[in-house]
């Protein structure tokens, strides 16, 4: 039965419906966390190694790259946009950084990191400029960038990987601090910074407003073009950060690195409850979404499921998450 629009406000006064409503809201808000816990319990029953510390360190390390991409992607999708170029930006930034920290003429790791981040942010700015300044559809702009940046990656070193990275640089992918892998620490720090920005700053509010109703945001004095522009710069810079970690972890920058990574990033955002129509979603949800993907990959590996099946299962979960979101909206 369809609840009447005026009912919600009216029935909060009565005790029984209010309690039921609260439960429903709790389920709607934390359903994804619940799903995550159920998934973990199921996998720990299926395989005793799943809950071991070593395995979790492994899951978190594998999740860090997708997690960082998904953070930028969340900002983009909150503004009703999409960034298909993250995988290519990851590769081009990684290879530029690697070229500066390889061989005998290796520069300090800081220079490589700075150069990589600058390349990612600059190409993100091209995305943002075209989308915000010239009003080209985000899908089209970033689809073009997906191809352009991949091409640049091959051009940059003639299609050859760059190996023999300096130990200092490799530590951002392979190092450990207090028993925790450095990539996991980077993910945690990135998450905290961007979570704070989204929740507590005027820029964060503007991101929600632009995606929720751009005209209203404009009327409220928000420079919507600037917000849109910076969202793609952020996504580009975070793609670069992920690219640095990937190159450092695998000890070489491959020109074909990060192909199709945008799909996992978008999946994490969607599973985490962020609406593709903009204005609704949280970074916490995205983090849980990325963890779910990480746990599924890991769990299916542990159970010896072939990677072909893994893709099928992952796809089904994405669609199920959106279905959950749709039915949740119908209830609200």
């Amino acid at each position: 039965m369809n609840p009447h629009p005026t009912m919600t406000a009216a029935s909060t006064g009565a005790a029984a419906p209010a309690a039921r409503l609260r439960w429903r809201h709790l389920l709607a808000d934390y359903g994804i966390v619940l799903a995550f816990i159920v998934l973990c319990i199921a996998l720990s029953v299926a395989d005793e190694n799943f809950l071991s510390w070593g395995n979790w360190v492994n899951i978190l390390r594998q999740t860090s790259i997708n997690g960082i991409l998904a953070i930028g992607m969340t900002y983009v999708i909150l503004t009703k946009g999409i960034d298909l170029s993250v995988g290519s930006l990851l590769a081009v930034s990684g290879i530029v950084a690697a070229s500066l920290v390889t061989g005998e003429t290796a520069h300090t790791p800081m220079l490589g990191i700075a150069a990589g981040l600058a390349v990612g942010a600059a190409l993100g700015a091209v995305n943002g400029g075209l989308i915000a300044g010239l009003s080209v559809a985000p899908f089209v702009v970033t689809l073009g960038m997906l191809s352009v940046a991949r091409g640049l990656t091959f051009i940059y070193n003639d299609g050859m990987p760059i190996a023999a990275l300096s130990p200092g640089f490799r530590s951002i992918g392979q190092g450990m601090a207090a028993g925790i892998p450095v990539p996991v620490i980077i993910l945690a720090a990135t998450f905290f910074v961007f979570w704070f920005v989204l929740k507590y700053t005027t820029f964060g509010r503007a991101v929600y407003a632009v995606g929720g109703n751009e005209k209203s945001a404009k009327t409220s004095g928000i420079n919507t073009a600037r917000v849109t522009f910076f969202v793609y710069v952020i996504s580009g810079a975070l793609s670069a950060l992920a690219g640095l970690i990937l190159a450092a972890r695998t000890t070489s920058a491959l020109p074909q690195a990060g192909v199709a990574y945008e799909l996992d990033a978008i999946a994490a955002v969607v599973i985490g409850g962020t609406s593709l129509s903009g204005g609704v979603g949280t970074l916490t949800g995205t983090l849980v979404g990325a963890l779910i993907i990480g746990v599924i990959n890991n769990g299916l590996d542990l159970l010896g499921v072939s990677s072909y099946y893994q893709q099928v299962i992952k796809g089904a979960i994405i669609v199920a998450a959106v279905l959950l979101d749709v039915s949740r909206k119908k209830q609200a």
Binding site: M1, N2, P3, H4, P5, T6, M7, T8, A9, A10, S11, T12, A14, P17, Y200, T201, T202, F203, R205, Y208, A209, G212, N213, K215, S216, A217, K218, T219, S220, G221, I222, N223, S275, G278, G279, V280, A332
Partner: protein, 494 residues
């Protein structure tokens, strides 16, 4: 033919024990336009939804053409030749008028391939019979809103509907187009159909409808012939108590510098060479037909667009061009026309929407001061008397009137000295309208200025100290709002 088209008695519907409709009664006769009136929450939508088979009633009886019915689905209602035309039209813009009218029922060759010549001929014949001046071969996307509405009516007729429900059909169209729509309504009622007409615009009801039914708080109040009552009596029935109209007319002090001053503002294709002055304490109304450039002027003054020529100043300071953030800082605020399309971030909370424009004042180093925000929102909710469970609730959960109050609250949160209002009461009920009027009057009384654009002449007359008439992008005249009449406004504007 003896039976009324629709005859409903004691229709009731509750949601989780909360009654939305307690006693819905209505009788619609053949060839008549019957106005269903009532404020938001009066139970009109619930009643219409039951009539359309979208909801099922808990109690009461409904007869359609003498036959007792209880529709389980909209499909059954359509089979009984009932059609609804809502505010949100759903045409397929890339298809022709004919294809839209006969969607899913196209004449076919051998049951497979659409017979286009027959389709166009059929559609043109229908449009001619209804006297709608539209070519069935035109693409839907090229029609005006009013024409789109006419096509919807034609579609209802092509299904042989003789009961047509119109829910706020004029909320998105201008006066001249309203005239076309009304001609169409007269033409279809002359052919025996009955129209159930829902609108907040009372002047329209008196123009087009012949009888009325008023609902209030989910119950039937009264029904009768419109010829037997006047506007004031109808408002009283809808609101439930006598409403004082327009006793705010304090004359602002004529002396002193003007608060807002506009000199020769122009924008290509929108408006040309507009010069205006607004004094402190004054409400300036802007009246004009659709396409007269009234809203475009307001948007440009606020900075949503850039003028090609001209200047504007507020309190003697030149206003920045094309920069809403700077306009807000200077003391302007814009109450937009359509709270759903441009006014509110519907997916966010009441609190988020209320503080959105004031954030520059609520932040330190870009970090929002949540305590200051909460106290601002609480103050605004109280001041605007917004009825809500909690400021954290989604703004989409509020009634139309309360949503409009959130728009006003957001505007007031930046402490403006001049409010620009574009259709500030569109689509909200009589009671909420009165609250908005009272609010604007008291805002002006404190020495501030209000510029209000409205397409409803009575609204402009009620509110304004002076009225600027826009005609085809130019300022045609400025007249005294205390002595002007509705006829005068219409005369000058057209």
């Amino acid at each position: 033919m003896d039976h009324p088209l629709v005859h409903a008695r004691g229709v009731a519907k509750s949601f989780n024990g909360v009654p939305a409709l307690k006693n819905g009664c209505l009788s619609l006769q053949r060839g008549s336009v019957h106005a269903l009136c009532g404020g938001n929450g009066a139970g009109k939508s619930t009643f219409l939804n039951i009539l359309m088979g979208i909801l099922r009633r808990d109690a009461g009886e409904v007869q359609v053409k003498g036959q007792a019915v209880d529709f389980a689905s909209p499909h059954e209602a359509i089979e009984h030749r009932i059609s609804i035309i809502t505010q949100e039209l759903s045409p397929i813009p890339g298809m022709t008028v004919a294809e839209n009218i006969y969607l899913g029922r196209e004449p076919k060759h051998g049951g497979l391939v659409i017979n286009y010549p027959a389709l166009f001929e059929q559609a043109n014949a229908l449009l001619r019979r209804l006297r709608f001046d539209i070519d069935a071969r035109l693409l839907m996307g090229r029609l005006s809103l009013a024409q789109t509405q006419l096509v919807e009516i034609a579609k209802a007729f092509s299904r042989q509907s003789d009961i047509i429900i119109m829910d706020e059909p004029t909320s998105a169209i201008g006066e001249s187009e309203t005239g076309i729509l009304f001609d169409a309504i007269r033409s279809v009622t002359a052919q025996g159909a009955g129209i159930l007409y829902v609108s907040h615009r009372l002047s329209e009801i008196f123009t087009i409808a012949d009888s009325y039914t008023v609902f209030r708080d989910g119950g039937f109040v009264e029904s009768g012939k419109l010829a037997d009552i006047d506007r004031r009596q109808l408002v009283k029935l809808i609101v439930g108590q006598e409403v004082r109209i327009a006793d705010k007319k304090h004359k602002p002090a004529a002396s002193g510098a003007s608060l807002v001053s506009v000199k020769g503002l122009s924008r290509e294709g929108e408006f040309d060479d507009i010069s205006l002055e607004v004094a402190p304490g004054e409400v300036l109304g802007i009246y004009g037909l659709m396409g007269s450039g009234r809203s475009e002027f307001l948007n440009c003054l606020y900075g949503l667009t850039r003028p090609d020529a001209g200047e504007a100043s507020l309190r003697g300071q030149p206003l920045p061009k094309g920069n809403p953030a700077a306009s807000i800082k200077a003391g302007l605020s814009l109450v937009t026309e359509d709270r759903k399309a441009t006014g509110l971030v519907l997916s966010s909370s009441v609190s988020f929407n209320t503080s959105l424009a004031a954030l520059p004042e609520l932040q330190h180093a870009s970090i929002v001061d949540r305590k200051a925000e909460r106290s601002l929102v609480d103050t605004m909710v109280q001041r605007m008397r917004i009825k809500l469970a909690s400021p954290a609730m989604a703004v989409s959960g509020l009634s139309g009137g309360n949503q409009q109050k959130v728009v006003l609250a957001r505007c007031m949160a930046t402490q403006p000295v001049c409010l620009l209002c574009d259709e500030p009461t569109r689509g909200i009920d009589e009671g909420a309208k009165r609250e908005v009027y009272a609010f604007l009057a008291s805002f002006a009384e404190q020495g501030n200025a209000v510029i209000v654009v409205s397409s409803e002449a009575p609204e402009v007359l009620d509110l304004s100290d002076r009225i600027a008439i826009f005609r085809k992008g130019r300022l045609a005249d400025v007249i005294d709002g205390h002595s002007a009449t509705q006829e005068e406004l219409l005369h000058l504007a057209s």
